[in-house]
Amino acid sequence: MEKEIESVFSNFKGKSQELIQLLQKVQEDFGYLSDEAILNVAKFISVPKSKVYSVATFYAQFRFSPIGKKHIMLCRGTACHVKGAPRILDEIENQLKITNGETSEDGEYSLESVACIGACSLAPCIMINNEVQANLTPDKIKKLFSKK
């Protein structure tokens, strides 16, 4: 890990103002922020580990545990809400047997609800690894995940 993380740092100067981008880059490359990675980031920009945690936990984007191969982001925007997002969430949880914020035991799926993915005209929608699934119904969710 040490070496890999150093390659992440090579594009940065080690200033504290780079903290958020550093965390974003680490998460992009490793999938999540491990305790070890956080310690390395803290050393790199010469701030206490607690400071890195205080920033990382503030933002919704950062995760502290690994995500599944298929990462599902469920949109909880207003348009999705009035078009039935709560039922979609129920159905995904029901199909995959994980609750919001969890990763399935086999590491296949993880589920996270996000504020809005900006595809409101296609509500309700979810994003699976950056691909939007639009105009969902509980039935479509069943079809989408039942192959499992």
Partner: protein, 621 residues
């Protein structure tokens, strides 16, 4: 000079593309178009035309705004107008290649309309159809028409002319022009743009910053995303003009990480602009230096607040600080900083491509120009629209949007996201401008318009927004941190059937104090959804306290029942019920045991349409 040559080449390229002999096919491939299947359609058309040896140019464009008709393609043949086709399926795509590209039959039954001087029999002009008749596309004029990855397309459409003009003027004159245009911030609060700029211009400092807020945190809004994806150079042009006016040499675009395509397009556009010296040192020989850096937001709604956004760019927790000093005087790293919204800055480029007077042709007395809105929710024609300020909500919803989805009863329209409020039917005739919306208790916000129908429960909506606000509250000031949480708990109780009579008054009381005493815009506006729903839909709150949910949404206040006359005993609901609350043998009437039922609605959805034997009732009885 060099740039003139580039522009001339660009114009010629554009004319050849749009008026040349080779047919041109546009495919709306912004995030929404792609999600609707645009790429698949593009591949099909590309394959079909190759197989038949039809020469054509296929081009990905941004969002034209007719989201309800995605996937969308446009075909331009020589001496014909541009024809828009909506809801394209693979079959329709092949048919179009066959009949319009190979032969000359344009298939009017699939067409939405035409743009151009010429007309075609059987196809209306797009701007004369209800959806566009009332729109004026100025900010969005390039979206869906140009290829956003080609700077030359932007040049050919008046692009960077505003910058060239502005750099010849004094910064003070630019601020005067902006003042004359009357433009107010498009991000929400509607502060006059020129005044903010003037503060910053007057502030003495060795370094100043310009920040573009492209975080678009409002759930239910995607105007900025569409602009960034469909026309990124307009933003860059607006930023350089505004940086020049305030005297900033560094600019930041703070864009949300959930918009991968927008980030990609921005990075490319910045690179292209740098190559042509539209960004960088001594821009176009004017002696003015300006660089743009992109910062990805990390998902915090509070960062829409200027001082929180600044903290986030500095690499800190996105927490606001008291104002004054205002960022225009002391902002990023303590230096004078201007923060403008994407749409404001794009409008600036349009003002300088034309002039202030042109900008004031539309709009109302105190709200000039046009404004983009994301029209979504329970509406027939969802879309990204642009209308003159002062257009009534009724026109937007019934004419442009075509009315409520499935012709249900209209209940309310929510403007301004979590900071705004719900406007009821009786007020649909109010004009959409900053002041009229404020009068009825809501705000313009960045432009989300979410339509709600009779099946939307207003108490549930209020709970939804307050839940959002309490989760997004940064926790720094007490009223916002505790007040929103308290309101959420009360609303949660009400929607679960545990409401008490004094709850409504309590909500109003807390809401008013949170508004009056919170530190930043989040807390100062977060009670709006609750206060407006109480103001206009008090009866729904009262019904909930009496254990009824008239819209039949709140789980704790509804019951599902099987109609014995319709039930055939198909046994489907029996199998899907997660709690075993349904009893009955196959081919016999089924019954729901209310004590066991958790109101999940699975049985209701699973009951085949031909029977529709399960009904929802308000109340738990």
């Amino acid at each position: 000079m060099n740039l003139d040559k580039v522009i001339n080449v660009a114009k010629k390229e554009w004319d050849d593309l749009y008026s040349g002999k080779t047919p041109l096919i546009l495919i709306g491939a912004a995030t929404c178009g792609k999600s609707a299947g645009a790429i698949k359609i593009m591949k099909i058309i590309s394959k079909e035309t190759k197989e038949r040896n039809i020469e054509c140019n296929i081009m990905e464009v941004g969002c034209i705004g007719l989201c309800y008709a995605e996937p969308l393609i446009c075909i331009k043949k020589a001496n014909k107008p541009l024809i828009f086709y909506g809801n394209i399926t693979p079959e329709k795509a092949i048919e179009l290649v066959n009949s319009y590209l190979e032969n000359d039959e344009p298939l009017p039954e699939y067409a939405l309309g035409t743009i151009g001087e010429k007309t075609l029999k059987g196809i209306p002009k797009l701007y004369e159809t209800p959806v566009l008749e009332h729109q004026v596309r100025r900010v969005l004029n390039n979206c869906g028409i140009i290829n956003p990855t080609e700077i030359n397309h932007y040049f050919a459409n008046n692009g960077y002319q505003g910058l060239i003009k502005a750099l010849k003027q004094k910064p003070e004159d630019i601020i005067d022009e902006v003042k004359e245009s009357g433009i107010r911030g498009r991000g929400g609060a509607g502060f006059p743009t020129w005044r903010k700029w003037q503060f910053c211009r007057d502030a003495k400092a060795n370094e100043k910053y310009l920040v573009c807020n492209a975080d678009e945190g409002d759930p239910g809004a995607f105007m900025n995303r569409s602009l960034l994806e469909g026309d990124p150079h307009s933003l860059i042009e607006g930023m350089v003009i505004s940086a020049y006016a305030i005297g900033a040499n560094t600019g930041y675009i703070y864009c949300r990480a959930e918009y991968p395509l927008a980030l990609e397009r921005l990075a490319l556009a910045i690179e292209q602009a740098e190559k042509l010296n539209l960004l960088g040192d001594n821009i176009l020989g004017s002696g003015f230096d300006f660089k743009i850096k992109v910062k990805e937001g990390a998902g915090a709604f509070v960062c829409g607040e200027e001082t929180a956004l600044i903290a986030s760019i500095e690499g800190e927790r996105g927490m606001p600080r008291p104002r004054p000093p205002f960022p225009a005087v002391s902002g990023l790293w303590g230096k004078p900083t201007i923060i403008n919204n994407v749409e404001t800055l794009v409008s600036i480029s349009r003002i300088f491509q034309n002039d202030a007077k042109w900008f004031t042709q539309y709009g109302s007395d105190k709200s000039k120009g046009t404004k983009t809105f994301a029209l979504v929710g329970q509406i027939k024609r969802t879309g990204l629209i642009e209308v003159p300020l002062g257009t009534t909500l009724e026109t937007i919803i019934y004419k442009i949007g075509g009315g409520v989805f499935e012709d249900k009863e209209f209940k309310a329209v929510q403007t301004g996201g979590p900071s705004g409020g719900c406007v009821p039917k009786e007020l649909l005739n109010i004009p959409v401008d900053y002041d009229s919306l404020a009068e009825v208790g809501t705000i313009m916000g960045s432009g989300g318009l979410v339509v709600m129908d009779e099946n939307t429960c207003m108490v549930d909506v209020a709970r939804y927004f307050i839940d959002f606000a309490q989760k997004e509250s940064c926790g720094k000031c007490v009223p916002c941190r505790l007040g929103n949480k308290q309101m959420f708990e009360i609303l949660d109780d009400i929607t679960k059937g545990k409401g008490k009579e004094q709850d409504i008054d309590m909500l109003e009381k807390i809401g008013k104090s949170v508004k009056a005493t919170s530190l930043c815009g989040l807390g100062q506006t977060s009670p709006n959804p609750v206060l407006t729903t109480i103001r206009y839909f008090r009866d729904e709150y009262e019904a909930h306290i009496n254990k009824e949910c008239p819209a039949k949404v709140c789980k704790g206040l509804i019951s599902f029942k099987i109609d014995p006359d319709k039930c055939t005993g198909c046994h489907i609901c029996f199998k899907v019920c997660p709690t075993g609350a349904i009893i009955g043998n196959a081919k016999e009437n089924h019954l729901i045991i209310q004590e066991k039922c958790i109101q999940c609605g699975v049985c209701y959805e699973s009951c085949p349409d031909k029977f529709s034997a399960i009904n929802v009732f308000s109340g738990r009885s």
